[in-house]
Symmetry: C2
Subunit: 250 residues, 2 copies
């Protein structure tokens, strides 16, 4: 297979071998929320019909968290995104089939363990940028994913489980909702992430107990119903809860 | 430094290079509970004053979870322990000082990212066994840890945070408590892991809601107070909750 991509990878192999840590790769599951819709950022490798998660390699003299953010920026143009490392994938045959037509000494063909990260952002704030290996970088609806390369569907599934699990101890919503929002709008965000309806009273009580919301002396005017109260996040308490966890019932 | 350990490591380096994946190591934080006491399993490298977590390297043709269990068994003699992979540690200088007196081509001196796992077991069921590099393998009280090598104190701290966090969505207690136990005994287990007192009524309500306990028609006789009810775990519901998470309030 003497394609353009093959030529590029062959030329780059010695450079990668000199500067990057062998056996280690990083993949990013970037969830995007906007207007009650949850998407994920995917890239399409050149000369390939399948899509994949944005990913790359760790430099020999680079901290892991620095490398993860660099890779996300290089492959998507997205900066200042807080990445949550959630799991490392290391099945022995996870990428075996992917470069099977390429020569064995190609950098990209070695066995990698993948350190996976996820993030949740407002997708209107990011303009994806393609790198030299990709011919597409797009937001895809999480309910209608295309076929994904290697074990990327599995990595995506685990990221979604982790995102939902994290709602049990981390606050969510800052930078995803407008500065002032109603309780039903916040509840809708949780419902979309969890993909289920929540009880309104329980949600209100739980949220109030977390002590991360400031109730404003304003209401959202204009609806047919009684104007709902507006809230904003108490940034200090919100950030404290990000670090130490929400006040759990244990 | 021409010590015995150095000679051993030098002789073994070519074997490791041929059979193990470069840059990747695995560390295990094994928490042991018994009689209201929480400990962690540590090993002491030969010719070293500091202790460390049991760890090792991943074989080139070995799945990550298989490698983690093999390493734990080789270094501690412990088998059939369910390991929870919780975080990968990849600071660029995490192990740099540790082998600084050794030659650069030593297998052990390369930069490793460490894929960390934790487990929680009854420490009476495990008899630690030393391997060729260690001269001690012991259970240490988590409140009185000795000085740990490299970033192992940080890895331990993160494991404890994760263990506590996991109590929010995973059941705990099977194989740690006797088959029949009282609610105060179960509460005590949670209190020791969380290192705080819990409210008795809240604990009872939360536990009952999880639907993983069978209340028996028996009481614990012999105390000065009213004999407390005995419970056992509903194994089917317990295992289902391990897989899919406890019924959360969201």
């Amino acid at each position: 297979m003497k394609s353009e991509l093959y030529k590029q990878l062959t030329i780059l192999s010695p450079y990668y071998k000199e500067n990057y840590l062998p056996s280690v790769s990083i993949d990013c599951v970037v969830f995007g929320f906007h207007n009650a819709c949850l998407k994920v950022l995917l890239i399409k490798l050149k000369e390939s019909e399948t899509w994949g998660l944005p990913g790359g390699y760790l430099k020999k003299k680079e901290d892991l968290n620095v490398g993860a953010n660099r890779i996300l920026q290089e492959r998507t143009g997205a900066t200042n995104i807080y990445l949550n490392q959630f799991k490392t994938f290391g099945d022995k045959n996870r990428s075996e089939a992917h470069f099977k037509d390429f020569p064995d000494d190609l950098w990209h063909k070695q066995r990698y363990i993948s350190i996976a990260h996820y993030a949740l952002i407002d997708f209107e704030t990011v303009t994806p940028v393609m790198d030299q290996f990709s011919d597409a970088c797009e937001w895809k609806d999480i309910d209608m994913l295309p076929e994904l390369m290697m074990d990327h569907q599995h990595i995506f599934d685990e990221a979604l489980i982790q995102l939902r699990r994290d709602l049990n101890y981390k606050p969510v919503g800052l930078n995803l909702l407008p500065e002032k929002f109603t309780m039903p709008e916040l509840q809708k965000l949780y419902e979309i992430i969890l993909n289920k309806k929540l009880n309104r009273g329980n949600f209100y009580r739980k949220m109030t107990r977390y002590n991360i919301l400031d109730k404003l002396n304003e209401t959202r005017k204009g609806g047919a119903h009684k104007a709902p109260d507006l809230y904003k996040f108490d940034i200090e308490n919100y950030n404290a809860a990000l670090k130490t966890g929400l006040q759990e019932s244990w």
